[in-house]
């Protein structure tokens, strides 16, 4: 790479950082929350065509939710940037219960772990996760 190309690359990187800074500085962006059970079901159904949610465990702050269908399959939906991303909750997903909090760790490292504050329901959903591992 010659000197002119390096200078061009340097200028590009500065411009990239400036634009990203500007997006934050002028207040662009959103704080997406899952409003209620219907919203969680809609997000799960959008993530997987044909999935029909019937029961929801929603994080108290609305950052994430677990949606279950009639066959017992579950989907984890969580906020990602201004939008949401979802993954199936299966035997490879690790669940850890801590009183009212349930933490789900996806086998996909970049998706990461999600902690949901579920109140008294946390134990029931943790039990369902154990059933996945046994089944």
């Amino acid at each position: 790479m010659n000197q002119a190309a390096l200078i061009q690359l340097g200028i590009s990187l500065i411009a990239v950082l400036f634009v990203a800074w500007l997006v934050k500085r002028i207040g662009l962006g959103a704080d997406p929350r899952i409003a209620d059970a219907d919203h969680a079901i809609r997000l799960a159904e959008e993530a997987e065509a044909g999935f029909k949610g019937i029961e929801v465990a929603r994080d108290r702050a609305g950052f994430a939710a677990i949606v279950r269908n009639a066959e017992g399959r579950m989907m984890l939906v969580r906020a990602h940037g201004n939008h949401f991303a979802a993954r199936p909750v299966d035997a490879a997903t690790v669940g850890r219960l801590d009183k009212e909090f349930l933490t789900l760790t996806s086998p996909e490292r970049t998706f990461g772990a999600v902690t949901l504050q579920l109140g008294k329901e946390a134990g029931m959903w943790a039990s369902r996760m154990r059933d996945l591992n046994c089944g």
């Binding site: 662009l28 962006g29 993530a47 029909k52 201004n82």
Partner: protein, 304 residues
């Protein structure tokens, strides 16, 4: 080889200016159209794409020049004498782009390179710059080779390709609704291209055009944007991450894992079949998703 300037280099200041104008429009209309980490990811992917392109540029040019020695017709570069060849070259290059782009969505090997461009859940001008790092590795340059064989000089083809790329920048926006009817009929527009970036089952695998939407209308891949179904952007299995390395390589990693674990007779199929294909039918292709969406049946595992 005769050399012409790269038009994209001259367009970059315009790209940045339009990006800032679009951000100001988003500030007034809908702040959620931009997200700082998403924008940073897109622009970093674009910047490194330029570096990757420069690194293999000599090889691509070399291959073009090598193929050009077998050309069928003698076509010159001088615009005053060869203006019709320039127009024809631009038109045929856009057809070659359509063929490449359709293949990039229907063959997993090409998709692994192209998916990077679709990996944002946003649709703004920064998304336009989210470009591949692995285009050379996935052999995407093959699609333009017939133009050199016809006799269009490599410099002319690369210049036209640059203009094509510049055209495609402005259509990556939600700031423009619909263009005039005659324009929507012939040209690729923000509305048509929003559909292309959609993950709604109705919108999957549609509108592959670069500049002229007529190719989609001719070859049956055109789908119009509907006012009653807003487009949801991204990929069927959203990344859920702003990690640029993961965005650039996740599908290649997926191919490697699948090929490693697949029975011998299915290994190649994980490279050349459509994204989401699996030998045991445990995943869903876009066709399966469309079918099951229409029938309201569950999809066992979303396509990559």
């Amino acid at each position: 080889m005769d050399k012409l300037p790269d038009p994209v280099v001259y367009a970059v200041p315009g790209f940045i200016l339009l990006l800032i104008i679009e951000m100001l429009i988003a500030l007034r209309r809908d702040r959620s159209r931009y997200e700082a980490r998403d924008t940073l990811t897109s622009l970093m992917l674009g910047t490194i794409s330029q570096v990757a392109g420069a690194a293999v540029g000599a090889a691509v040019i070399g291959m073009a020049v090598w193929v050009y020695q077998f050309h069928l017709f003698d076509i010159g570069l001088d615009f005053r004498s060869w203006w019709w060849a320039w127009i024809l070259c631009f038109f045929l290059d856009d057809l070659a782009y359509y063929v490449f782009h359709r293949s990039a969505h229907r063959v997993r090997w090409f998709w692994a390179s192209h998916v990077i461009h679709h990996s944002s859940q946003h649709y703004n001008l920064s998304t336009a710059l989210r470009q591949t790092w692995t285009g050379f590795f996935s052999l995407t340059f093959l699609f333009r080779l017939p133009l050199f064989l016809i006799g269009f000089p490599p410099a002319m083809v690369f210049f036209c390709a640059g203009l094509n790329l510049i055209y495609q920048f402005w259509i990556h926006t939600e700031a423009i609704g619909r263009m005039p009817k005659w324009f929507e009929a012939v040209m690729n527009t923000p509305s048509h291209h929003r559909v292309h970036h959609g993950v709604n089952p109705r919108y999957l695998d549609a509108n592959y055009a670069g500049v002229f939407i007529i190719w989609d209308r001719m070859f049956g891949s055109f789908v119009a944007e509907r006012d009653d179904e807003p487009v949801r952007y991204g990929i069927v299995k959203q990344l859920g991450s702003f990690n640029i390395l993961w965005a650039a390589f996740h599908e290649w990693v997926g191919i490697a894992k699948d090929v490693w674990h697949a029975p011998w007779r299915h290994k190649l199929s994980y490279m050349w079949r459509e994204p989401g294909w699996s030998h045991d039918g445990s995943r869903a292709t876009s066709a399966t998703i469309k079918e099951r969406w229409a029938a309201g049946r569950p999809v066992e595992e979303a396509a990559e």
